[in-house]
Symmetry: C2
Subunit: 340 residues, 2 copies
């Protein structure tokens, strides 16, 4: 504990590794865990392996000046679990690649590891290995997550068909509003506490994703990491269809509406273009409504809201009281990151 | 092609992704490849999954000033394939996480991708996904590789027993000598060309590793990324044994000996402490000699050299004409990187 104010470079390799690996539990399906050249995992019989990786960079995807270290760790794992959820996969294991500036405080590193491990424990994800290296640049955390899904339960972006209905989990714009509030010095309005938490510690929709896959209640699915507009556009393109979103149906938290009203800004624009809401966007055929009802019963109080329809014409549109126009957002986001 | 002198930030997201994904082939065991939230892979029936990740940072693990871009890409994948080989695993798929400075030249990125894909093709590794993001720091490449290994063929660091013999593949100190020569302005002596190549484009010992596992010819194995001294120490510790290395037996290329003789330096010290030789260190029981002979027959002209013995006393020693002393190297390498 007296080391918390040392830097990672002064602590040295062995102590740094021990500080992390001493906190890891190895479940029985991990044949070889941390400490060897690679991790060895027993696969789920009859299932496919699902793999994803996402890097977060200090100053780009988060900012240590106003993000607690545990939230950085939480988010680094959460964005990957969100990707697995979007495929209908159960998460199983993660690798943690830490790229650290010499002067990083050991206490900050401890906090980051706290955040990763707390979220990992909640979803029974085993941290099975990883890598630590130094950099002359900003702190970068690259998590790889792996999970399993039964062959016929895989959700992809490509299955939407004209006539399907378009749904989204949770609420939109909360994380972005939380971030704004944080940057403005924290939750002056207590009602924004939930939005700040949504930004800091997004809850990956693992349960919703796996239920949608298991019940075969969705025809396509993806997560919202870069905003609704971006996701709708990508899902439509992958499926070769169009989508019309109804502005009046977008699920927006009351506190987020109030914050926008107070600052005279357009809450619909935020709900569509803001990133960091790790919700699921999915489509469901009218014939799947019964299945979707049973998913709703099992996701607890997570809202699942119908926001639009899939069309044959390939346009991606927003319908509101003024008529119909191109859905904003989703062209380029070099300022953030994007998947291969 | 006329874009080769643009920067990655000016090229934009879609063009950048297309530049990479248009070059990818998707083998039949990849159920979902690039372009979705995560990759989906059909596992090898009856095999375990093996997972590893390694990040390389410009200025720490390579230097774009004297490393061709394709060598950077080659190395980023090779270090991970080397980790899989050390477990006895066949490589199958990789994820590529690119963390790019805005001003990076598109031609440099193309070269890096060339290097990754050329090596991937040689080992039939499918690039199934990844992530691209910007950074305010140096170029960082984080590759995650996955492979498969039959349960009883897993090689770990922990199986060495007193009386086992210690072996190493290839030659030692070549990569470090190649790097020195590169830094000094290139191969003034043509005989160092092979060493430079060993530094730039190390060959992961996939065939040797999988043969050792399949033939059950090794009792323990790891790769040499941070030098022989480090590896011997870690393998001995993981196995709860000691190891005595015989200096006279270390396999050192003639050109490397000549270069050290010319500069009046100790070639044995380089062979023990220098990193970047992605060779395998393994132990083999005397009863496994027959199996090791058949491995030798199938690895072609890759040398496999006996360099020492495993002892009950837990000391890690170097024996030379002056007697026996602690094997140097392997305490701390915060200047490079290390595994969880």
């Amino acid at each position: 504990l007296f080391l918390r104010h040392s830097t990672v470079s002064s602590l040295g390799e062995r102590a740094l590794i021990a500080r992390i690996t001493s906190r890891l539990a190895t479940p029985p399906w991990v044949a070889v865990g941390p400490g060897d050249d690679a991790a060895v995992i027993k696969p789920v019989r009859g299932a496919f392996d699902v793999l994803t990786t996402d890097a977060l960079v200090d100053g780009i995807h988060f900012d240590l000046r106003f993000t607690p270290p545990d939230a950085v760790g939480h988010r680094a794992l959460a964005v990957n679990l969100s990707d697995l959820a979007a495929m209908g996969a159960e998460p199983r294991a993660a690798l943690l690649s830490l790229v650290l500036p010499d002067e990083l405080d050991v206490g900050t590193l401890d906090g980051i590891v706290d955040g990763v491990l707390t979220l990992a424990a909640r979803y029974r994800v085993a941290l099975v290995g990883g890598n630590i290296t130094r950099t002359t640049g900003p702190l970068t955390i690259d998590v790889t997550a792996t999970g399993s899904v039964r062959p016929r339960r895989v959700l992809t972006r490509a299955g939407a068909r004209p006539g399907d209905e378009v749904y989204v989990t949770g609420t939109l714009g909360s994380a972005a509003t939380g971030l704004e509030s944080l940057k403005a010095g924290g939750a002056t309005d207590a009602s924004l506490g939930a939005s700040i938490e949504r930004y800091l510690r997004p809850e990956p929709r693992v349960r919703a994703g796996t239920l949608l896959g298991r019940n075969r209640a969705a025809s396509s699915c993806m997560d919202l990491s870069d905003g609704l507009g971006d996701a709708v556009r990508q899902l439509a393109e992958a499926s070769g269809v169009g989508i019309t979103v109804n502005a009046a149906d977008l699920p927006i938290a009351d506190a987020v509406r109030a914050w926008h009203l107070g600052s005279g800004r357009d809450v619909t624009a935020t709900a569509i273009s803001a990133g960091d809401d790790y919700e699921l966007l999915f489509t469901s055929r009218p014939a799947q409504r019964g299945r979707l009802r049973s998913v709703r019963r099992y996701v607890g109080d997570l809202p699942i809201t119908r926001i639009g329809v899939v069309t044959k014409a390939r346009d991606v549109l927003l319908q509101d009281e003024h008529g119909t126009r191109d859905l904003p957002g989703g062209y380029e986001h070099w300022d953030r990151s994007f998947r291969l």
